[in-house]
């Protein structure tokens, strides 16, 4: 049995005459005695017969070719192609380097990167879904700013009137009792200059909100302050009297009080 197993491995090589003469003869004599190996050999011969069945096709195909003409034909094709092969231009060579299959993933990645970049830019910068700023989150009624400005103008005017009132009262009292030099210093001081410059600022506000009455009083106060700021030691008594008369005639202090009251009331009513 062991012998048969070893022979079995060599049966195909035996069938095709690939074994050395000695081994070939040994298997040949074994086959005469062993019916089991004979059966196996028979089955292998059938395979060989099956393979031989294609031989006829091979013969027919071989007969159909003009073997005398074929070499010349192939030679013409090979040499013809070699001669005709045109030299490639540098453009073709460069494009071949640029578009070689190895670089395709790189181009694809670049393309995807550009696309994603464009998409993200659109989403975060241009789109209606962009993140809202703090200013966008707070919404104002349309007349809100105007109201705030009016209120600020009113307060500025009230502040101006109050400070002016104190200074005028100061002038009325001190000019009668003390030497001119003492109150002149006061009126040439920074306070008056501040009030004059403040008047320039509130002028715009008064014009804007059409506060004509307040503007008229403020103009009279401004005129008075200009006069007082320009005074010197040698001011004649009649000039001083004129200024006093001006304050009394125009009833400046009273008008200031009334205007203050009016402004405060309008503030309350609006609130």
């Amino acid at each position: 049995m062991k012998e048969c197993k070893r022979i079995n491995n060599d049966l195909v090589a035996f069938l095709y005459g690939e074994l050395q003469d000695e081994r070939q003869e040994f298997i040949s004599s074994h086959l005469k005695e062993c019916s089991s190996c004979q059966r196996k050999m028979e089955r292998l011969r059938k395979v060989q017969k099956g393979a031989d069945s294609l031989n006829e096709d091979i013969k027919t195909a071989m007969a159909s070719v003009d073997w005398n003409a074929l070499p010349a034909q192939i030679t013409d094709t090979v040499f013809g192609k070699e001669v005709q092969e045109p030299k490639e231009s540098w453009v073709v060579n460069i494009s071949r380097i640029l578009f070689q299959p190895k670089l395709r993933p790189v181009y694809a990645a670049l393309l995807i990167g550009v696309f994603l970049g464009a998409l993200l830019t659109y989403v975060f910068v241009r789109s209606p879904f962009q993140r809202k700023t703090t200013a966008d989150l707070i919404s104002y009624p349309p007349d809100f700013i105007e109201k705030v400005e009016l209120e600020m103008a009113r307060r500025e005017t009230l502040d101006y009137l109050k400070k002016s009132q104190y200074l005028i009262l100061d002038f009325v009292q001190t000019s009668a009792e003390k030497e001119p030099s003492s109150w002149q210093r006061k009126f040439a001081s920074q306070k008056v200059k501040d009030l004059l410059s403040k008047k320039k600022y509130i002028n715009q506000q008064l014009n804007k909100f059409k506060m004509a009455k307040a503007k008229e009083i403020c103009n009279q106060i401004e005129f008075l302050f200009y006069e007082l700021a320009q005074m010197n030691d040698e001011i004649p008594a009649w000039r001083l009297q004129e200024i006093h008369n001006f304050i009394e005639e125009k009833q400046l202090l009273l008008k200031i009080k009334l205007l203050e009251k009016e402004l405060k009331q309008s503030e309350k009513s609006e609130v």
Partner: protein, 193 residues
């Protein structure tokens, strides 16, 4: 190496030297020498004349392009068979889907094997078709070895050179190929005598 092969190889080397200098006649002579062997190899692979002719032409074109890679002392027949075999495998892989379609159109199981009504010529056609399909079902290396051995009648040693494997491996692949073919065709052998 047998004496005849050595002499043939020496002649071929002389031809190759001339071909390197663009000698058309030498090339034509070389084609005459090997055209039938290449055709036989390709035809056994595809069992189709047109495919085989394409392979013959393609092999000699490739030979001309790669002639400088052939080293002196190498077996030329093994070298050119290697080129042809590679082309056959490439061609086979490219057209595998077409072959599958064709094979599915004519299934072995659907063939009419009523042997009593059929004469000898019909039975021969049946056996040819069955064997053809069975050969198709073999693994690529087994099929190549079988074709080179059975139809091209190369020795194991020569096949080993073509396939770049050892003669022992060739023997083993050939054994497996025949065994597998036996297993594949045995169900039909009873029907086709």
């Amino acid at each position: 190496m047998p004496r005849r092969t050595v002499e043939e190889n020496r002649d071929v080397c002389a031809l190759l030297e001339r071909i390197k200098k663009d000698d058309r006649e030498a090339f034509q002579e070389l084609v005459s020498l090997y055209q039938k062997r290449i055709f036989l190899l390709a035809f056994s692979f595809f069992r189709n004349r047109e495919d085989a002719m394409d392979i013959v032409q393609e092999t000699f074109m490739r030979l001309y392009q790669k002639i400088h890679t052939f080293r002196e002392g190498q077996n030329f027949q093994s070298w050119i068979f290697q080129v042809a075999k590679n082309l056959c495998i490439d061609h086979y892989r490219k057209n595998r889907s077409k072959r599958k379609e064709w094979a599915s159109d004519q299934n072995i199981e659907e063939m009419n094997f009523s042997s009593q009504d059929r004469d000898d010529s019909h039975q021969a056609v049946d056996l040819k078709m069955i064997f053809s399909r069975c050969l198709e079902k073999l693994a690529e290396k087994q099929r190549t070895v079988f074709v080179l051995k059975h139809y091209n009648q190369l020795k194991y040693r020569e096949i080993a050179q073509v396939l770049n494997i050892s003669p022992g491996t060739v023997k083993s692949l050939h054994f497996k190929a025949v065994q597998n073919l036996r297993g594949l065709i045995s169900p039909y052998l009873g029907r086709v005598q």
